[in-house]
Symmetry: C2
Subunit: 229 residues, 2 copies
DNA sequence: CCTGAAACTTGCCCAGGGTGCAAAGTTGCA
DNA sequence: TGCAACTTTGCACCCTGGGCAAGTTTCAGG
């Protein structure tokens, strides 16, 4: 019943009944999936379970998502789409690394990270992310590449394809690294102090990238104060 | 990693019949899979097809690999294991970025890249890598992290976890980027000139990483690179 | 209000992925 | 030679994923 703006919604001025129903169903599915993940843990429930919980048929589930993973990954997708949006908003003449950092900053906000943090905490047991999860991150990487390419088109000393791809991949990797470290330290802690630490980790990660991982250590000692829990 | 009795670790001096058979079967499976990939293209053959081609039962296939993807990804796994081995061989006091570059250099060799290049060319149609493929790269990333961590333990200004993870992820991303660009330019061309280009791309990618992606800045306004803090 | 078209849901069916189990076949060792 | 350990294989079973066609809902006119 909670109406919210979801991806795949065509135009914001399309309150047609059909669109509304679809969005609601989509929402119901991901919430059912999340709920099952919470109660039973990863890999221990089927598409049918989700469909039952969402009040739809198994077949309809597949009209919305290709797998349980995909349903769960919609959380990540939303998060990363948000990141890309932030990235796109940055002024085109800003150094791109700074744009990336700024975009990441906007994500270290309780409402935004909460779903992802929970998903992280519920699935972290399995060493590797699900296929759909990885797909989401890779999609984000491609978006970054695209935005970077658009910027490069406006500058004379245009960066080549290698630059764009290597840059986008590295940004994603550093962002992931920061989130992994944050999560390893704080679990699903969403307190202001914890979020501040996440923010600092993201800044540090971008700084590392910007300094070319110089062996002379950056002032990382400032950020990593509380090492153990 | 025991030294006395090794039931699972096939040491190089283990010409036991069992080990030999297993290795041969494994080989037969990946070759059958590769052959089918060549003749029919990705996604158009089943586990049973592979098993038939390899002269084993469907069930036995699953004793060796969890999926068709996994069978194919063993190629990537071999390639990346090789890379890690090269990386481990580098002197511990060498700058780590240079070690990474050197390790990558050793891979730009016909015999080594050929299988991966073919796999690339045969599966590139589908935008995203298979799950097992990604798993292989991620495993490599973890290995790099581990090696880097071991090195850091011996140096005074020890790098923290963020540094290690961000570094490893970025190296992998840059390596992937270089290979993608190479492949986009040359296809599966393995000529000396093409391999030289791959080598150069790898060098360039590492250089980009080492310089913090500082690019030739736009002429007008400030040419400040993002090297703050 | 009625009616037909378009969109959506659902049940049915089927090919294929993945796994536990136990019987049958191999290999290793005394 | 014969037993113990290991491997292969067929079998049964559940789950994924998608095509198809018959219902059901939404929407636009008459």
């Amino acid at each position: 019943m909670t109406t919210s703006i979801e991806p795949t919604a065509p135009a914001s001025a399309s309150p047609s009944r059909r669109e509304l129903n679809k969005a609601a169903t989509r929402q119901a599915i991901t919430e059912a999936a999340l709920s099952l993940l919470r109660s039973r843990g990863p890999g221990s429930f089927t598409v049918e379970d989700i469909a039952d919980a969402a009040g739809i048929s198994r077949r309809t589930f597949f009209n919305y998502f290709g797998s349980t993973d995909a349903a769960l990954a919609s959380v990540t997708h939303g998060f990363l789409d948000n990141a890309i949006q932030q990235f796109r908003l940055r002024p085109a003449d800003e150094p791109i690394l700074q744009s990336a950092q700024a975009a990441l900053m906007a994500l270290a906000d309780p409402m935004t990270v909460a779903p992802l943090a929970e998903l992280f905490s519920l699935t972290q047991q399995s060493s590797l992310m699900s296929h759909s999860e990885l797909e989401a991150w890779d999609h984000c990487r491609e978006q970054i590449t695209t935005v970077a390419r658009e910027r490069a088109a406006g500058t004379p000393g245009a960066a080549d394809e290698l630059y764009l791809r290597a840059f986008a991949g590295s940004v994603i990797s550093c962002g992931k690294a920061a989130m992994e470290v944050w999560f390893a330290r704080r679990g699903a802690d969403l307190s202001p102090a914890s979020l501040a630490e996440l923010r600092q980790l993201l800044i540090d990660a971008m700084a590392l990238l910007g300094s070319g991982f110089a062996t002379v250590q950056p002032p990382s000692s400032s950020s990593s104060d509380s090492r153990s829990s």
